[in-house]
């Protein structure tokens, strides 16, 4: 199945790809230079938005380039809307 991609690998942004997961729940995989400091926070933001959108079967892969929470929220919302409307 085709992956949804949103964002970029520019500084301050993140690139997120979303596809269907066969695990029966959301899988969130984060690649970030800031994983030790912010990994849990990034995952929590994404996870909360998945709940808001009632998405529980997505594999979400994130390449973070130091995105602030507002950018993480925006990219996740856009990605999930594209995922749900594909």
């Amino acid at each position: 199945m085709e992956k949804i991609v949103v964002g970029s690998v520019e500084s301050g942004d993140l690139m997120m790809s979303i596809s269907e997961s066969s695990a029966g729940h959301n899988e969130i995989v984060i690649d970030s230079k800031f994983i030790q400091q912010y990994g849990d926070e990034i995952k929590e933001i994404i996870s909360n938005i998945c709940n808001e959108y009632n998405v529980n079967n997505a594999k979400i892969e994130v390449n973070d380039q130091g995105a602030i929470p507002a950018v993480i929220r925006a990219r996740t919302k856009t990605g999930l809307e594209r995922f749900l409307n594909k």
Binding site: E10, P69, A70, R75, T78
Partner: protein, 300 residues
């Protein structure tokens, strides 16, 4: 009610592509009077949804107004499928102002205002967004007066150079003579309606002297400011606007003489050999206000 009360005149509006997260953050440091987040030409068709979402999330997080910066969003035109969604995003982002591109008729403004009212109400906004109108066609320029007075939300008008030139079937001339009619017409409209008037962008970001020459020229025509595409152009505009120490001292002396004349109950007064009245004093008070903006000694 307004969300943001300006304390300084609009001199520059910095275009920032609305799909670039790092520019939302960095643009604050250049202290433009207005940041214009661009949902239109700067954003690819396939990324309009992502840009709108960034706008909403980031503008709800970064308080540009606290830094004295006004936020404006250039939306896509009425003839696009993005028009209504862009307006909704501007309201959800709680921007200060919307820039309408390619305006041509009063009905364009009416459609915009109707949608703004709809989404302001839906989102329980306790203030009204302002409007800046860009004219980019012969019809738009000719209708500018009627269009610009179509709503009391309109605070300024601008000339859009590229589309206007295409519409005219003209060619770009070395000193932009092809824009002269439109520039002078819009200045008249702006002054007649007490609106700000903004000029086209200057595309060559490495040509400082060319930019300064053009800015001084359009300022002489009566323009308030210019839309800019590079932070360096903000500095250049400030250099032109910043009063000299001599101008400031002259203004301060006149202010003092004016205050003395008020105490004596005089309408006009003699200052350095010339009779001076209120409009002349007001011009000098503007210089003092500008000097304050640039933290000049003596003005504060």
């Amino acid at each position: 009610m307004v969300k943001f009360d300006r304390v300084k005149p609009r001199k520059h509006m910095l275009f920032v592509p609305a799909d670039r997260p790092s520019l939302y953050r960095d643009s604050v440091f250049y202290k433009p009077d207005t940041i214009m987040f661009d949902l239109e030409d700067a954003v690819a068709y396939s990324e309009k949804d992502a840009a709108r979402m960034l706008l909403i999330e980031i503008l709800n997080d970064i308080d540009y107004n606290a830094s004295g910066i006004e936020t404006c969003v250039r939306i896509n035109g009425l003839d696009t499928e993005f028009f209504e969604k862009d307006i909704e995003a501007c309201i959800k982002a709680k921007a200060n102002m919307i820039r309408l591109p390619k305006a041509e008729t009063v009905d364009d403004v009416n459609q915009l205002v109707a949608l703004m009212e709809k989404y302001e109400k839906e989102n329980n906004l306790d203030y009204k967004l302002k409007i800046f109108i860009a004219f980019e066609s012969a019809l738009g320029i000719l209708n500018a007066f009627e269009v610009a007075k179509a709503s009391d939300r309109i605070v300024g008008i601008a000339l859009g150079g590229m589309d206007y030139l295409l519409d005219l079937k003209g060619s770009r001339l070395p000193n932009r003579e092809e824009l002269l009619y439109a520039r002078q017409h819009l200045v008249h409209v702006g002054r007649a309606l007490k609106l700000d008037v903004f000029d086209v962008v200057y595309g060559n970001t490495s040509d400082d002297q060319g930019f300064i020459n053009e800015f001084k020229f359009i300022k002489s025509l009566g323009f308030d400011g210019k839309s800019v595409i590079h932070p360096n152009q903000i500095r250049l505009i400030n250099e032109v606007y910043k009063p000299t120490q001599e101008q400031l001292e002259y203004a301060l002396e006149m202010k003092e003489a004016f205050e003395e004349s008020v105490k004596l109950g005089k309408g006009v007064f003699l200052f350095k050999g010339n009779m001076v009245d209120k409009p002349v004093v007001e011009k000098q008070l503007e210089i003092i206000e500008l000097a304050k903006e640039f933290d000049m000694e003596g003005a504060l």
